[in-house]
Symmetry: C2
Subunit: 548 residues, 2 copies
């Protein structure tokens, strides 16, 4: 089979003007970026009407789950059934693209195009977030340097969209008083910037401004919060983020509209694409397919409890992506062997599928399990999963979108249409808005992850005290947690139960509107592996090669 980038480069793209016009957009509703991308600003009187479908997955494994590919395949499959379906995805991050993971624009015959551009600079949204984040950092430090503010703690860190472990912990401001104040700090990857979450959750420019105003960037000597508003940086950040707030329109390999906008990671942030893009997809499509990063314990949980609650969205159905490989991995088969038939291990790994189904059942929407089909899957293995889904009372479909595009997702598309036929069921949230932060984490830990209780580190207790003093202890919670286990410990596969969830730090994200609770040993800045993907990427005859 051809590589992803070969398939993408051989595709005949619809010109973005034609794509936009055929979707009923007028010229003042979009601006082309190149011949195949556009920034969209829909007329204000248009309203979302499409059914919203969330795509999530069983727990992660090193080989990836195929969630983006399935989202695109489903969208293409719906089109083949004559439905108007639009997909809304997250933008890939440059860091992992040159590191281990590669790009994130789908795969095989279920991709969004232009794949190279989407994976690299795209329309510059992440660069805008990087620039805004770091201008804010420079303005905070400048105010300190000029003696305009005296901070006990600088909370705001810098970001870069690169995997660079050397920047995790640094000391800035060396070289004498003309060069600033020596300060221990560091860089996170751009997707971990609070501004990324702010951009993704903001419903419009006014909301964006209010959220940026609220950013708590430091703590003053008297213990009170030093905000972006008080610093006077909001306007400059608004100017830098003005274009980035507009959702990006591209196309799938089979010519569906695709919005690709915003890209927080679900292990360290809320992991959902932007509210404005999701709503744009619901406005232009009768079906809006969106994904949330990783599993029901990460992206889907935050999609429901943070994004849907804040934006007033209700999904009509949830697609739970799984694979024989993922389940065998959670049945304790080592990575090199997960492509080999192994019914016992598969059965053992079904507990992971069960746990995710149970989580999703609790949230409320109808569920369709989608098997991301591999050539190595045996009929027996597929039947075992189908059987288990029947026992759990949820729909099941095999998806061959990678190999066959939309044609391979017709079974899935039919199942989704059936599941979403009625009015969407009201959502059950995992916690009350009124619960305090600790109660919220406890409810997530016990009801979603399978823990028996939680334990706050000494640092987390100190954080909590400060958050209470600042009056933010009723915010929603965004847990930073490994995607490789339902627990905080990546090596605990299957469906671990009865453990204590260790909460390391509580980080106030007042602009995003949540408190980040870090658990286990989560990194907010990845490193490059021994053989980075960058070594294989090149330009040949003016075209990019080696991007996967």
């Amino acid at each position: 089979m051809k590589s992803d980038i070969e398939i993408a480069q051989e595709a005949k793209l619809i010109r973005i003007d034609d794509l936009a016009h055929s979707a009923g957009l007028s010229d003042d509703e979009f601006e082309p970026y190149g011949r195949d991308k556009a920034k969209v600003a829909l007329h204000k009187d248009r309203k979302p009407h499409g059914k919203l479908i969330l795509v999530t997955a069983t727990s992660g494994m090193p080989a990836g789950s195929g969630k983006t590919t399935t989202s695109i395949a489903l969208t293409q499959g719906l089109k083949r059934l004559g439905e108007k379906a639009v997909v809304a995805l997250r933008e890939p991050s440059l860091g992992p693209c040159f590191g281990m993971k590669g790009g994130a624009a789908g795969g095989g015959y279920s991709q969004v195009l232009p794949m190279e551009s989407i994976n690299l600079h795209f329309t510059g949204d992440f660069h805008a977030i990087t620039a805004a984040n770091n201008l804010l950092a420079a303005m905070i430090d400048n105010a300190r340097h000029q003696g305009q503010v005296n901070l006990k703690t600088v909370i705001w860190r810098r970001v870069l969209d690169v995997n660079d472990r050397m920047l995790r912990n640094i000391v800035t401001g060396l070289g004498g008083p003309a060069n600033g104040i020596p300060t221990e700090t560091g860089f996170d990857i751009t997707v971990a910037s609070e501004l990324m979450a702010v951009l993704c959750l903001a419903t419009d420019l006014d909301d964006l401004r209010a959220r940026i105003d609220r950013l708590v960037v430091g703590i003053k000597r008297d213990g009170s919060a030093f905000t972006c508003k008080e610093l006077g940086a909001t306007g400059a950040l608004m100017a830098l983020l003005l274009e980035a707030m507009k959702p990006n329109l591209v196309q799938t390999l089979e010519g569906n509209l695709a919005f690709v906008h915003g890209g927080p990671f679900a292990n360290i942030a809320h992991g959902c694409n932007s509210v404005v893009a999701t709503k744009a997809a619901m406005t232009l499509g009768d079906w809006a397919i969106t994904e949330a990063g990783f599993g029901s314990d990460l992206g889907a949980e935050k999609f429901i409890n943070i994004k849907c609650r804040a934006a007033g969205l209700t999904p009509s159905a949830v697609v739970l992506v799984t694979s024989t490989k993922a389940l065998k991995w959670h049945g304790l088969v080592p990575l090199p062997d997960i492509g080999k038939p192994n019914v016992e291990a598969l059965k053992k790994g079904l507990c992971n599928l069960d746990a995710h189904i149970d989580n999703l059942k609790h949230f409320g929407p109808e569920i369709v399990v989608s098997l991301n089909h591999f050539a190595t899957d045996t009929d027996e293995e597929i039947e075992i999963i189908r059987q288990r889904c029947a026992e759990k009372g949820v729909r099941f479909a095999v998806c061959d979108g990678f190999i066959k595009g939309g044609e391979g997702a017709i079974e899935l598309a039919r199942a989704v249409m059936e599941a979403a036929a009625g009015e969407p069921k009201p959502l059950n949230f995992s916690y009350e808005t009124d619960d305090d932060v600790v109660t919220k984490i406890e409810k997530l830990a016990t009801n979603v992850y399978g823990a028996k209780d939680i334990e706050l580190s000494a640092a987390a207790k100190k954080d909590l005290k400060q958050i209470q003093e600042l009056g933010f202890d009723r915010l929603p919670v965004c847990v930073a947690k490994t995607p490789y286990s339902l627990s905080h410990e990546p090596t605990w596969l299957g469906a671990p139960k009865g453990f204590t969830l260790p909460v390391q730090r509580l980080i106030l994200n007042a602009g995003a509107g949540f408190v980040v609770a870090t658990t286990g040993a989560i990194m907010r800045m990845p490193g490059l592996p021994k053989q980075p993907a960058a070594l294989h990427i090149d330009v040949v005859n003016g075209k990019i090669v080696g991007l996967s």
Copy 2:
């Protein structure tokens, strides 16, 4: 009078498709970025034919010289005379835009549009350079961390497009062995990245690749160079810079084509826009107007000795921008008083004009002095300058482009057409390509800056030895020097003579193809002032305000 941004936002822009088509570009020669910008890739069989005009200025002063404004005014003036004129400028840098200087897209009625976009993210070229520069840094440090290379010195630094003094000197890799190797390093501003110079000097993708391959990023334990090629990072950097290599097409307020591409600072880099953009302007225009940063001692010197020599360009005339304010400043009038009539001080400051005329005479092209006219100029003052130009045997014109646009530059346009009527005179370079680095600096110091000799610091002598050992001691020289004086000392105004030029460091830029010689106390990362421009920038009703 209205502010720059008000004038810009009230202008009726030609749609970029119409602008490109009216210039004879076919659809496959440009890609729109929004409705008013495009990336251009001209057919290979098109050849440059237009006359090239360089715009430079007398020595800097805190209020700026109006070089960009004059370049645009001249281009608009030529259009009013029925000539096909295209301007080729540098892209503004985000850092100064939010710092002290503000934007850099011209001013008044001589601007390039869309002003806000050009001043902010534009088409993302600088972000691409930032990303490529920092991926390279991460790959170098990763190779060290993984034990794949053992370096005595890491030369490559990181960059960000922000004024942030705290990043000048930092220690990275703290927090234990999993987080890298503790290393003293720092960030420069993006325009100071060697990749910026590489992008601006590269004639095509093959040349870009060859230059990136040659980047010397570290010194190995055996004293040999560790290059980007050896690291294997060239392909990834090519992919990141592929779009950024294409020149950006926009328009002037009066509808001329304008290329805005590349933006190295002339005090710390070679200070000229890209070779590809200059050639594109010469291809689409009968007149190509381009600027080089600061004075004849900085941008113009490097334009001639580095850019023209490498790219085989010969300007038909040089415009030397000056003003009564600049000359009075160099006649030792304090800043608050430079707008007041002062004939004595003006006469005293003429020595600065003389020195720049003499430098330009040495280079060869015909010279037109352009007085950037202010309402406070008296007739007597203007006559003194006109008289001095007559004595020096160079043309003189008053330019009112800021207030009147092209109409205010007709006198200048006529003078330029007259000056450039014949075949361009061959260039006199300041040094032979065969001269060693030290001889080259000596020739620049004595023949261009007015020094009697040069003195290498101990560090520079050590640098020289290493550059000699690596075999790069015959490269051209790019002097980093203050723009406020012909000397290295910003407070020595007028035309200082007979001083010794102190050379602090010699920095190998093997990819750009020159050795940077730093003199005096030049900074490669600016800081923010007490009241950064960022404090006044905002978004009101969806439009950016306060950008100047």
